[in-house]
Amino acid sequence: MRDSGKTISIAEKRKPLPRAVRARLRHIVCAAVCLLVWLPVILMLAAAFMPEDELLYRYAEPLGAERETVRAALLPSYPSVKPFLELLFRSPGFYVMFWNSCIQVIPALTGQFLVGAPAAWAFARFPFRGKKPLFFLYVLLMVLPFQVTQVSNYLVLDRLHFLNTHLALILPAVWATFPVFIMTKSFETIPNVLLEAAYLDGAGELRAFLHVGLASGYPGIVTALLLGFIDNWNALEQPVAFLKEMSLWPLSLYLPNIAQEKAAVAFAAGIVMMMPPVLLYLNGQSELEQGIAASGVKE
């Protein structure tokens, strides 16, 4: 009796907006928010395909030329691929910096994987004395801003004579603790059954790690490497601090200056720079979501 009375009152209570209207409203709000992301990107893309004179007509002030009203456009009036050709074939500076970025980022990521994945496996899978304080140390190091470890790193790199070499960026990055944290969280979600099966099949600890850990924990590995790539690709504090010589600079440090040197290619250079992380993200999106989801499990 009481139950049926209640259901009626619910039916009356939750009538307000028809489902279709609510769904449409949701889409409108979502689309409006997404415009905040799309508009800057489209502005950028449009500008990347503008010939030099149009660029200077529209964006003289942002490019560092004389003060003049900005005439923004979502499409170029005279589309041209010349900026890209200019950038790829006639900008040796850009070319060098692009490779510097690759030389610094790829070994750093390889190292993060080779060093970090086993460490994460140890934290996720084995009980051992001192595990808790050690993991706390790793989390603390991950939370501390670069500026805190900057001096420490500087002192070591100076003593090892690595300052002003690519190694000055690579080595500290290899032992970053954030990837270890992400991979640990992901390895923790691997069901024990899988491992027990491997042990029963006679696998040792190393085999278990290589065959079960790496295979089942790969979303965490992909996530750690993807986030690591984004972080290192955009490195700014580290090269500013450890690389005096401009010929060693990565793209992230060089790009802001490119507008002064070659205004015509500035936007195209920006597009080229954002391509690798964007493409990697679009390819690894589902792993990234899984890996990040795993990192949120039980604190």
Binding site: A31, V143, P145, Q147, S152, W233, N234, L282, E289, G296
Partner: protein, 319 residues
């Protein structure tokens, strides 16, 4: 019994050995690159500039009395105090908006995560297009002012409108003015909402749908479902979102540096700026002391968080 215990301890020992084997390469690097030099940092923070004689807490007193440090510290605290709640709320609201239980290819989600991936160095020019002296923001404000002016003076509209356009009410250089602070906050949220969004979405997906169904049957409205199911279900996620937002908040230096250079407006002069100045002048002593202060602050925050958790649990149990 006894043999079982023995075997167990044998397994224990074997596992511990395996653990150290896996951990060694990472730990060795962390020790060499961070732990050992950090011990040196601690030592130097108590020594004089030459690193010879101990001066007690004099360095700490000097750094804390330093005007630049005070400015940087208070700006950083202010930035965190404004940004963290704003970011967490925005990303949570977006998560509620975007969340779908089937979780398949969702263009909105992809879009909102995208800024996290886009290098700031590449986007700086767009920011300049918007915020420079003759940029889009000022154009828009002038246009609105022009419209308002025209509407206000219906009689001599032509002349007044023209006058407004000529004088240009708005021509501030936003990034190099007091407005730099809000601009930095907007940039930070634009950049970081995606990451938090993914965390919130994962948390939302982990809450069982049957809870919501049961609540619906019991007549709970949308608000009550949010209050009594969603929010408690996300308490674990909350901690991680907070930690990672703090981590990322120090990276905002990249945005600040790229937008405003190393000598920005006073309102966005933060701890990283100060450190980079100390670094340029190789003021090792101040850097060491400053690092120690930051670590202490981080540890204090961690302790406070742990304490808060214990207190909450007690309250939860008793209540």
């Amino acid at each position: 019994m006894n043999t079982g215990g023995k075997r167990k301890s044998g397994i224990r020992r074997r596992q511990a050995r395996a653990a150290w084997f896996f951990l060694a390469p990472s730990l060795a690097g962390v020790v060499v690159f961070t732990a050992v030099p950090f011990a040196d940092v601690i030592r130097r923070s108590f020594l004089d500039a030459m690193g010879r004689t101990g001066v007690g807490l004099a360095n700490y007193a000097a750094v804390c009395g330093n005007t630049a440090f005070r400015l940087a510290a208070s700006n950083t605290v202010r930035f965190l105090a404004v940004c963290l709640p704003l970011l967490m709320f925005t990303s949570f609201a977006l998560a509620l908006l975007v969340f779908r239980r089937d979780g398949r290819g969702n263009l909105y989600k992809t879009t909102l995560v995208l800024p996290m991936v886009i290098p700031v160095a590449a986007m700086v020019l767009v920011w300049k297009i918007v915020f420079c002296q003759d940029g889009l923001l000022n154009e828009f404000l002038n246009w609105t002012a022009g419209m308002a002016g025209r509407a206000g003076t219906t009689g001599g509209g032509e002349a007044a409108g023209g006058a407004v356009q000529v004088t240009k009410l708005w021509s501030s250089d936003w990034v190099n003015s007091g407005a730099a602070f809000p601009i930095l906050i907007v940039t930070y949220i634009w950049k970081n909402a995606g990451y938090d969004l993914m965390l919130w979405l994962a948390g939302l997906a982990s809450i069982s749908e049957s809870l919501y169904d049961a609540a619906r049957v019991d007549g709970a409205g949308a608000w009550e479902r949010l209050r009594y199911i969603t929010l408690p279900g996300l308490s674990g996620t909350f901690g991680l979102v907070l930690i990672l937002s703090v981590v990322n908040s120090f990276r905002v230096y990249r945005e600040a540096y790229l937008l405003a250079g190393s000598y920005p407006d006073m309102s966005i002069y933060m701890i990283p700026h100060l450190f980079s100045h100390w670094f340029l002048t190789l003021d090792v002593q101040n850097m060491c002391t400053g690092s120690m202060l930051l670590v202490t602050a981080a540890l204090a925050a961690a302790a406070a968080a742990a304490l808060a958790r214990v207190v909450f649990r007690r309250l939860g149990k008793s209540g």
